[in-house]
Amino acid sequence: MDNYRIPLGDWIESLIDVLSTALAPLTKALSHVMEAGIDAMNDALMAVPPWIMILVIALISWKLAGRKIALIALFGFALILNLGMWEPTVSTLTLALISTGVAMVIGIPLGILSAMYKGVSRVVMPILDLMQTMPAFVYLIPAIPFFGLGPVSAIFSTVIFAMPPAIRLTCLGIKQVPVSLTEAADAFGATRVQKLFKVELPLAAPTIMAGVNQTIMLALSMVVIAAMIGARGLGGEVWRAIQRLQPGLGFEAGLCVVIVAVVLDRITQKLGAKRV
């Protein structure tokens, strides 16, 4: 018993080796496309003068979440600009938003499928449990052989980390639709698809939005951690502060993350509450 150790790690490594070689053309192509996308979005956001960006963000907050959040956004982002953290903040925002987008595009349909078919949920739910309990850092490592060091790997691991709430809450939202309402839809001869789009999804919308909110928050936190595998942005600043033992810089970068998180959180929360 003592001298035999199950080579679980070796198996995983050889599996990843095989996969990364086999999938290399695909991952390389994907990596190029993604990188181009990230750069394009980043450049576009950076091309706008910071002050105009700040006003636009404040305006969006005001429209969607009210005056208080608009003021927080205005002063918060102005502080970020003043601290000279504008560029890393924009790049963090880009990564977080792209990851959230990808996570939603994959997660919401998966959530719908697992609400509709028991078989799907039986496969998906245990995987979600695994994804959510596995320490976040672990996802960083296999991303590298597939996508190399850099923002694409960061997005890959962020998507995996941030997707579970989108799946879970979509599934929950649909399952929570009262049976009497789906029965009424059935009684009037609705097809499965009509029932989904006319009754279930609109009624599940607030819950799904709560999932989106969670996904954004998780994506933001993971994008910061992903600095360790070469994501730039605020996480990069924190990482540098750790290596150089500069608590001041670390705190400043951390504060910027908090400001971005608060504004995004409030906006998406209000968006969910509005749909009721």
Binding site: S180, A184, A187, K198
Partner: protein, 379 residues
């Protein structure tokens, strides 16, 4: 089903297979244009039965035939088509969509059929008008009272102009006064619509009032089928007999059960003769109850007396108030009222112990109530 055929009881089957028997061996037919009431206490299988008709619950055996078409044998797409065009369903808990406006709720069936929005709205508005909800189309169901919500439910079914209305305890969740209004309204609507209606209820009074024929169920089986008259006068089994008796004893007709909402009243000392006359005129009534500022009933004013007071040039109503009307408590049995009501000039007032007006009894509603009960008592 095998077990049922072998003559096992439902309890035995539940114990052996773990599956309860909902409805078994029920056979009935519905004529075009009639209201068939399926009645039974909760757990008797009536809601399961009505869901078998449009296969919301898939029957394990047996068949449902509508206009010569075996619904139970229809493939999926034909079944959907059938549900869309043949059936309108009204549910006990309304089952309105909270995210849609009243008009969009009423138009739901048409939306499912793929009708264009303009036509949908037009038909939905017409259906809403039929059920007395014109002007409410842009509200949300949450802003409506229970009675109004169920009117929307009814409009949603009517908007499709279906051949068959399935009404599953449609009025059971409403409070008694509203329920009576809705029953009256359904009867009125049915006079012009002539739909085939399958109406589920647990309330014998409702069954008698609405049903052209009644199917009485117990434990998933039919115990008696026939007109209200049949069931009340010739109960087929001891169970029916007890059911009918129970209903009679527990629901002995009291003033509260036949009264109507008070409607308009005049308020002393603020209202004058002119106001009183106009209020009566609006409602087409010949007398009106007068309340004091504590909302207590002080008397009744007839149109003649109010007109006389106006001619005398009086600004106040006090001179026209009469107190020789009938006032009774809500628990008074109405039999005691009969003789007096025949002679009186105005409705009887139902007054609670605080002297507040709770409702009025007009001759018409009293006789209607008694006619129902009279039949019941013969049985």
């Amino acid at each position: 089903m095998e077990l049922l055929k072998k003559g096992k009881t439902k309890d035995e089957i539940l114990a052996r297979t773990g599956r309860p028997v909902g409805v078994a061996d029920v056979s009935f037919h519905v004529e075009e244009g009639e209201i068939l009431v399926i009645m039974g206490l909760s757990g008797s299988g009536k809601s399961t039965l009505v869901r078998c008709v449009n296969r919301l619950i898939e029957p394990t055996a047996g068949s449902v035939v509508i206009d010569g078409v075996d619904v139970t044998a229809l493939p999926k797409d034909k079944l959907l088509e059938f549900r869309r065009t043949k059936f309108g369903m009204v549910f006990q808990n309304f089952a309105l969509f909270p995210h849609k406006t009243v008009a969009d709720n009423a138009a739901f069936g048409l939306e499912i059929q793929g009708k264009d929005p303009g036509k949908r709205r037009e038909k939905a508005l017409r259906a809403l008008e039929q059920v007395g909800l014109a002007g409410w189309e842009d509200k949300y169901p949450g802003e409506l009272s229970g009675g109004m919500q169920q009117r929307v439910g009814l409009a949603r079914a009517l908007a499709l102009d279906p051949d068959i209305l399935l009404m599953d305890e449609a009025f059971s969740a409403l409070d008694p006064l509203i329920r009576r209004d809705m029953q009256d309204e359904l009867v009125t609507l049915q006079e012009t619509m002539r739909k085939t209606i399958v109406f589920i209820t647990h309330d014998l009074d409702e069954a008698i009032k609405l049903g052209d024929r009644i199917v009485l169920m117990k434990d998933g089986a039919v115990v008696q089928e026939g007109t209200a008259e049949d069931i009340l006068t010739n109960p087929a089994t001891r169970y029916v007999e007890r059911f009918v008796e129970d209903v009679d004893l527990s629901k002995a007709l009291t003033a509260a059960s036949v009264m109507k909402k008070p409607g308009v009243t005049v308020h002393l000392p603020t209202d004058g003769p002119r106001t009183a006359l106009r209020k009566m005129d609006e409602r087409g009534i010949s007398s009106i109850f007068a309340l004091n500022k504590d909302h207590k009933l002080v008397g009744v004013i007839t149109a003649d007396d109010a007109a006389a007071a106006l001619e005398r040039g009086e600004k106040k109503l006090e001179g026209a108030v009469r107190t020789d009307f009938i006032a009774i408590g809500p628990d008074t049995p109405v039999q005691e009222l009969m003789a007096d009501m025949a002679l009186t000039f105005c409705p009887a007032a139902v007054v609670n112990e605080d002297g507040r007006l709770k409702g009025v009894i007009v001759r018409g509603s009293l006789l209607a109530g008694l006619a129902e009960k009279g039949r019941a008592q013969n049985g």
